[in-house]
């Protein structure tokens, strides 16, 4: 916005006071370093909000575009793996076990003689589902419980804090072995449920602390003095200001969940063959690391790119939601 000296048209009459009446109205905005930036060059008539401004910001952010593209692609191949591969992940030929790349089989073969490319593509569905659902479940449960504990405080908070302590004490792998060994269905849902069960306290703690910090700000008091309801204060004032650390931790946790699925599958309590997941493939390929590193490399690479994409996305979203960084 161009720095235009602004003179109020309204005469300040009727005060009957002498002297110069300069309201400092021609004050320049001191930190206006983004000409045509957030405030935009256009007329100021269209109301803006945090979300619309964040979206404007994100659309122009290369980090967001790249990570978004990767994630869209991952979701696409999870839904329609056959769109980019013609083979079947189950047609394996032991004779070709551990062979390298060949025409039509760019990633080579794994220890069982299955095509690594096809399996990596088909594995995306499980891994992305587990990662996304577990993260969403953990983030929602954790931030709601933690947020409410931080907001209401008192005995609610004490009880919840003790419960999170208890959950923190449960060793993940041992807990998985015990809880998941009784499950007989071979779907991702018991695994996701287990992750949410053990994962929410981590987010809950962060959300609680974040809400307690935000709650002390005067703007919360100001809203209350205006007669705002608790729901309004939570949604308009607390949530947008408390969400940043939750996003960061949740996106980092997403990678952990995908790898945890692999660990559990390796231990035989996660998914069992014939299910396909990057985790299963990574653990299956690790004994052949010396002879057939490619069988390990490709699913690991896919995992790394996925995790990175989500972390980048989280970072971009967090930054976009902070007007100070624009």
């Amino acid at each position: 916005m161009p720095e235009q000296p602004y003179e109020p048209e309204r005469a300040i009459a009727g005060t009957g006071m002498g002297g110069t009446m300069d309201l400092g109205a021609s004050e320049a905005v001191t930190l206006d370093r983004t000409p045509g930036g957030p405030a935009g060059p256009g007329p100021a008539d269209r109301p803006r909000s945090l979300w619309s401004d964040a979206w404007r910001d994100l659309r122009r952010n290369p980090v967001f575009l790249v990570s978004g593209l990767i994630i869209v692609f991952l979701v696409f191949i999870s839904l329609w793996p056959s769109a980019i591969t013609s083979g079947s992940p189950f047609t394996c030929d032991l004779a070709k076990a551990q062979d390298g790349a060949q025409p039509g089989h760019p990633f080579g073969y794994d220890g069982q003689g299955c095509d690594v490319y096809t399996r990596t593509v088909y594995g995306a569905r499980t891994s992305v589902t587990v990662g996304l659902c577990a993260t969403l479940g953990v983030a929602l449960t954790g931030s709601v419980l933690g947020g409410l504990a931080g907001w209401f405080g008192g005995p609610w908070d004490s009880v919840l804090s003790r419960i999170t302590d208890v959950f923190f004490a449960i060793p993940v792998v041992l807990g998985g072995l015990v809880l998941l060994s009784v499950v007989t269905t071979n779907t991702v849902w018991p695994v996701v449920g287990f992750m949410v069960l053990l994962g929410w306290p981590q987010i809950s703690r962060i959300a609680r602390g974040s809400v307690i910090t935000v709650k002390q700000n005067d703007y919360v008091q100001a809203a209350r003095a205006l007669g705002a309801s608790d729901a309004r204060i939570l949604l308009r004032h607390i949530a947008p200001n408390a969400v940043a650390p939750v996003i960061v931790v949740a996106t980092i946790a997403l990678g952990t969940y995908i790898s945890l699925e692999a660990t559990l599958s390796y231990l035989g309590v996660g998914l069992k063959p014939p299910s396909i997941s990057w985790g299963i493939d990574i653990s299956a390929a690790s004994p052949y690391l010396r002879n057939a590193p490619h069988a390990l490399l490709w699913p690991s690479g896919a995992l790394a790119v996925t995790v990175l994409a989500f972390i980048m996305l989280g970072d971009a979203v967090r930054d976009a939601l902070d007007p100070k960084l624009r």
Partner: protein
């Protein structure tokens, strides 16, 4: 306040104690922070009441009680004769339209993730009756104009403004619902000197323009004097002296007021030698452990046995009853005198060195 005029706001026996508890699951009350401990005052229409006092005296708690951010332990806040502390739901929300607050810290009192338009427009969303939906944007721009900010700034975020400009935004938000009373809690103390004057002038102008009544809370005595019609001096949860501004500033009769006034640095180096300062010893006692009788006696050079026994009432002291001079105003001291003899160096609890009157427990709520 002119006699016979119904006060717009009346505070009677206001008390706020914060319980101190121990234990995690089973909580046991082990004491109370007596932040406000029996405060009475009234505010007339178009009047400014200044409340001065040091940190921990309870002046900010009074502000919170007035706008119902806190529930009083006892006492009443009457708006046009109706006790608003017992209201709830719709009636309470309706009253909140008429008593608004301006906060001290312009950096934490505006949500950093809302645009200025949303911040000033929020009152209209909470009270949809105050302005029809299509008209709100226009009203917000008008408010920006009223407080001397460019209406084009409506889509900016708070961090793009300086402290003084942010305080103007906070004032615009407070004005949105056309309240009759504005409670301003240290509205200029976070601002630079040159910007303070701008904001004080703005508050002054708004008062006459919108016929506002102010409760102006501050620790800066000269600012309070400039803006107030009447002044109340608070110490440790109570008002110790109250009267018209000239009565308090030129004819104080309570020793605490006298000490407070004498301690204010005067921007006149020539006065350095002439001035006789009363340097109080020690710190304000903790509000969890309030001295018996007169609260100020532990730091007072006039204190006698009677002060520990009897709580002095806030009334015109006997010595001045019947007189009509400026010293005849309410002062809660058994030994109220107009011009206090300044304690000589080394006599009595003199200038320095007396032990702390009460164990310190950090800072109480202020």
């Amino acid at each position: 306040m002119a006699a016979g005029v119904e006060p717009i706001l009346e505070v009677c026996g206001l008390v706020k104690h914060y319980p101190l508890t121990r234990g995690v699951l089973i909580r046991k009350q082990v004491g109370a922070v007596k932040a406000v401990d029996g405060v009475d005052f009234s505010l007339g229409k178009g009047e400014t009441l200044g409340i001065v006092g040091e940190s921990g005296c309870g002046k900010s708690t009074v502000a919170k009680l007035l706008v119902r951010l806190e529930r009083p332990t006892a006492g009443a806040v009457k708006y046009k004769g109706e006790d608003i502390t017992v209201l709830s739901g719709r009636a309470r929300k309706e009253v909140s339209r008429n008593i608004q607050m301006v906060f001290q810290d312009p950096y934490t009192s505006l949500n950093p993730r809302m645009t200025v338009g949303d911040i000033i427009g929020e009152p209209f969303e909470i009270h949809p009756g105050a302005a029809p939906k299509g008209d709100r944007r226009r009203r917000v721009r008008e408010l920006l104009d009223v407080v001397g900010l460019n209406p084009e700034y409506i889509n900016r975020y708070p961090h793009q403004f300086s402290g003084g400009q942010r305080q103007r935004i906070g004032i615009a938000r407070g004005l949105a619902l056309r309240p009759e009373v504005i409670v301003a809690d240290e509205p200029v103390s976070a601002l630079d000197v040159s910007v303070q004057a701008q904001v004080i002038n703005l508050l002054d102008r708004l008062q006459s323009e919108f016929d506002l009544s102010y409760v102006f809370i501050a620790h800066d005595l000269s600012v309070v004097r400039h803006i107030s019609d009447r002044v109340a001096v608070m110490y440790l949860g109570r008002i110790v002296e109250t009267g018209r501004d000239t009565e308090i500033y030129d004819h104080p009769t309570h020793p605490y007021t006298q000490a407070l006034l004498s301690a204010v640095p005067v921007p006149d180096p020539g006065a350095r030698e002439r001035r006789e300062r009363i340097i109080l010893t020690g710190d304000v006692p903790s509000p969890t452990n309030v001295p018996s009788g007169c609260r100020f006696r532990t730091r007072c050079w006039k204190a006698q046995e009677r002060c520990a026994r009897e709580v002095p009432l806030l009334a015109v002291p006997e010595a001045f009853r019947g007189t009509s001079g400026p010293a005849a105003h309410a002062s809660a001291c058994h030994f109220a005198e107009e011009a206090a003899p300044v304690p000589g160096k080394g006599s009595g609890p003199g200038r320095h060195g007396a032990p702390d009157p009460a164990p310190e427990k950090g800072n109480g709520p202020g």
